[in-house]
Symmetry: C2
Subunit: 217 residues, 2 copies
């Protein structure tokens, strides 16, 4: 694959799902699987699976299917899970603390290496074995210590101020839980997690019959 070719966002979004399914298969002792079987389990067509995986090289053998372990490892490698990532969390409230204490992330190589907050009650305390620093020290910290990903778990109103502090620091990605849309410099990647939007969508669906009935009056 030529390195200027970009893989489509839809394919990238499906890779963690393949990785999860293959990991589950491995856990249950399944050593190989046809693209057809995998497609039934995942609810994706077999040709979609072949197409997706062909983006990254050739996997599987006609008549044999996929070797689950090697495909799992390969997708992990494609996802960049064969290296570790340094995460700085900004906003060490309940939600930020829950992320830091979630063991799965560090098992996958995502390591929280620094925590920040602006609340004097929280600064200096330890969460998951890591001391919480004053957010005012963030720019100086980032001059000295390399961070791959900033995790924003602070109120939306401060989100863009903190984002400004991240430019030209080596931070390449922002995992954004603030609910605000961030203005970022070119080349900085933002992945938004919008819990409130997600809950509103769910409650709409739960309530849809009643809502549409009302709208038709």
């Amino acid at each position: 694959m030529k390195d200027e070719k970009r893989v489509s966002a839809a394919v990238i979004k499906r890779l963690p799902r393949y990785y999860r399914y293959l990991g589950d298969l491995l856990d249950t002792g399944i050593a190989r699987i046809s693209s057809k079987e995998l497609s039934v389990r995942m609810g994706i067509t077999a040709s979609q699976i072949r197409q997706d995986l062909n983006n990254f090289g050739s996997f599987g053998q006609q008549g044999y299917g996929y070797n689950v372990e090697s495909l799992y490892k390969e997708i992990g490698r494609i996802l960049g899970l064969d290296r570790s990532y340094s995460l700085a969390l900004i906003g060490t409230g309940h939600f930020g603390q829950a992320l830091v204490n979630y063991p799965y992330f560090s098992r996958r190589g995502y390591n929280f290496t620094a925590l920040f907050d602006n609340d004097p009650e929280i600064i200096g305390k330890t969460v998951g074995g890591i001391i919480v620093f004053d957010v005012a020290t963030l720019p100086d910290y980032l001059k000295i210590i390399h961070v791959d990903i900033a995790v924003l778990t602070l109120p939306g109103a401060s989100a863009n101020n903190v984002t400004n502090l991240l430019s030209d620091t080596g931070v390449k990605g922002i995992w954004n839980f603030t609910g605000s849309d961030l203005q970022v410099p070119k080349g900085m990647i933002v992945e938004n997690v919008r819990l409130t939007d997600s809950l509103m969508t769910l409650s709409y669906m739960v309530n849809e019959d009643e809502i549409l009935k009302r709208a038709s009056i």
Copy 2:
């Protein structure tokens, strides 16, 4: 609108975004806005906005634009935010506790009314003013108390066992943080939040140049 007509999932997923933007406009004192201005702010075409909103009736006036407050209220009504929802949380660990303690949900009418766990250390404790019950009592609880949405913040391995307990109980929706794909009875709505997939997608993007270079060797 006829009540058998369903609104597309893509439109529904955009509604909370409209709601958020209009709320921000209201907070900054903007009383009216053209679909063109709104489109520039949101990065959606003006015709897309008109199309989306036309699903629910006619809004806005030629030459005047939208009245921000009335459109905000109307979208809130469409989203079903003019009523409240009862949420039961199953899995009261760090992450579940963070959701319960997040004040925004109850301000929007999403009320956690019951918490469950299977850990004797947590059962009987109080989180956000609510006592944590033994998950074994969940079926009996749901016979007596109406719950709209079950929030699953427990390990993936137990997710489908708990989901089975929810059928025929009046619970219509599941907000699923477990990372597992749920098998649900017809009519039950599932909204998945996959934090690990989200983080993997981000780290892929952050690392993409290097990954594609490696793949081309």
